[in-house]
């Protein structure tokens, strides 16, 4: 990944967008680096698509400014921006064939017939649609249309490619294949991709960095790993994967760590630079895969607690258990890989569950 440029390729500065009395975006500021695969992630209505449309120029902010490649995009229409967009519906022109679709944007530049053909073929090769040039648009499958849309945008050699939920119309297997494809494509071409999606798995798989958005605001911008392991709020933690929340109380606060008491789990030491008031209540997060069901009576786990199985969901390679912790009404989810020696437990069964210091995260805020 090239991040030689000192200046970010996209600077979104304090953007607000109102639709009548509805505030779709509220003071959004993001910086995107050149050559990044950047995703805007959030539930429907969070403003991610609105933001993408502001980047593309199909809409203008109510206040704030957007800079692309160092230049202000105020009052710059879509056709004059160094961006190109892949639309959610792909928007393939039905009255033109594949080659004409892909070469659509180049018609203005009046290339020689040969050169145009070469560029079109080059773009088709890039998306694995070589020799599809003469196909009619209506004869294409969903996945093929998507690749035509990609080729059509990439042939314009934009500095930034904007993708509006490009995989949502595809079935699961195809989607998974395309996720890998898109990532590979981006690395090959080397330009910045900005992708909008509501699917957190998708964002995690493809992105270098992700901006998680709720209700018009940016909650957290981080790499997938950091977002997953250190979500900054309960909202982000629940949106990315599954998170168990357990109340705890701060016992001692030291320079670089705090000692906490977690209900039924006992005491634990967590590393943090933040100062907490002893006696205050905080929320601890622990991912389902960080809890382990203990099968072996002779185990060497240091920290375990008793739990009752409420329900179980079997997924073939994994099983998810909803458990009740001890006698409390605190519930949690545990995920276990179904390997040898791990029979599936039924509801009502009692079992020991192990956990470790390192698997706890402090969840700040709401």
């Amino acid at each position: 990944m090239n991040s030689k440029a000192t200046q970010p390729i996209i600077e979104i500065k304090n953007i607000t967008k109102n639709f009548g009395s509805v505030r779709a975006l509220d003071g959004v500021s993001i910086q995107i680096k050149q050559g990044e695969f950047f995703s805007l992630l959030g539930p429907s209505g969070c403003g991610k698509t609105t933001l993408l449309r502001l980047l593309s120029g199909f809409d203008n902010p109510s206040s704030g400014n957007i800079f692309i490649a160092g230049e202000s995009m105020e009052n710059v229409p879509p056709n004059l921006r160094p961006t190109n967009m892949v639309f959610q519906s792909y928007a393939i022109f039905p009255h033109l064939n594949v080659a004409e679709n892909v070469g659509y944007g180049l018609r203005k530049i009046k290339l020689a017939k040969d050169e145009l053909e070469n560029r079109v073929n080059e773009a088709l090769d890039l998306v694995d649609l070589s020799n599809y040039g003469t196909r009619e648009s209506h004869a294409l499958s969903g996945g093929q249309r998507q690749r035509v849309a990609l080729a059509r945008a990439l042939i314009m050699r934009p500095k930034v490619l904007l993708l509006d939920e490009p995989l949502s119309a595809l079935d699961k297997k195809l989607r998974e294949a395309m996720q890998v494809e898109l990532r590979r494509l981006q690395q090959t071409v080397g330009i910045t991709f900005v992708l909008v999606t509501h699917d957190q798995e998708e964002a995690l798989i493809m992105s270098d960095r992700i901006a998680v958005m709720f209700e018009g605001k940016v909650a957290q911008v981080d790499t997938p790993e950091f977002l997953y392991r250190k979500p900054c709020s309960k909202q982000v933690a629940s949106f990315i994967g599954v998170m168990n929340f357990i109340p705890a109380r701060v016992v001692k606060s030291r320079a670089k760590s705090i000692e906490i008491e977690v209900a039924i789990l006992g005491k634990a030491n967590l590393q943090t630079n933040k100062k907490y008031v002893p006696g205050s209540e905080i929320t601890i997060g622990i991912r389902p895969e960080m809890l382990t069901i203990v099968y072996d009576k002779q185990h060497e786990y240091q920290n375990t607690f008793e739990a009752t199985i409420n329900t179980r969901s079997y997924f073939g390679d994994m099983t998810y258990y909803d458990i009740q912790i001890g006698d409390t009404d605190i519930k949690a989810t545990v995920s276990m890989r179904n390997t040898v020696g791990r029979p599936v437990l039924e509801p009502g069964a009692k079992t020991q569950v192990a956990w470790g210091n390192a698997s706890l995260t402090i969840i700040d805020g709401g």
Partner: protein
Amino acid sequence: MPDLNQSARRGYVLISPPLMYSLVMLAAPLALVVLLSLWSQNYLELDRTFTLDNYIEATTEPLYQLLLGRSIIISGVVTVCTVILAYPIAYYVAMFGGKAKPLLLLLITIPFWTSYLIRIFLWKVILGYNGVINGSLMGLGIIEEPLTFILYNANAVVLTLAHAWAPFAILPIYVSLTKIDNSLLEAARDLGDNAFQRFIRVTLPLSMPGVIAATLVVFIPTVGDYVTPKLLGGTDGLMIANMIQVQFGKANNAPLGSALAILSMVTVGFISIGFVLLSRKLGKVKN
């Protein structure tokens, strides 16, 4: 009878009343008209020997040729004018109508639903020697003598028919415009097209089916119009329908009238099919 599934049989049962009605009341009479055109009128008696005399007369007699030719030309001009004038309105309602679309469409079709006869007559009032146009222009001092070229000739017929058929042209164009996916226009814009280029390269080609439908819907019935040429055409604006009516009326030559009717229908049919084929070919050549 082939082995039909239950759905097909039920479908046939249901559609048979209207189908029977149309076959008996439309198809059969039309067949009879064809038959009649092959007979001849011998003063007061109908001579049922088969003959092509009527058709020969219809195609060779200069008067009938003139009327048929003029009818087709007038219809052609009306169609071109009506469709071209209708496109911007259809475009306006389809693209900028917003929530008012159903209301605007209703407003467009309302004049059509009122009595055809009355509307044609009102145009006569507008275009007449003492009519509204002349009265206003003279009142404003723009002209001193009333204009005479606006009534009782082909011009008046063209103008009036363009008015009468406007909604028929607007609706098909409107429908095909609304079917254009907005994201196609956004994609074109994203790829560098300005408003005019988007219109020519995306909107216009995709609205062609509507334009073709509008053309046919205006052209075909206009050729057979009777009232407008009769009221406004004078002698220079008479069309084939007037002659057909005369044959069935005063001239008492139903076979000739039938031949003229069939001839017009066939001519219009050929022109229409030719037009549709031509537009299909043109569409393919561009690609």
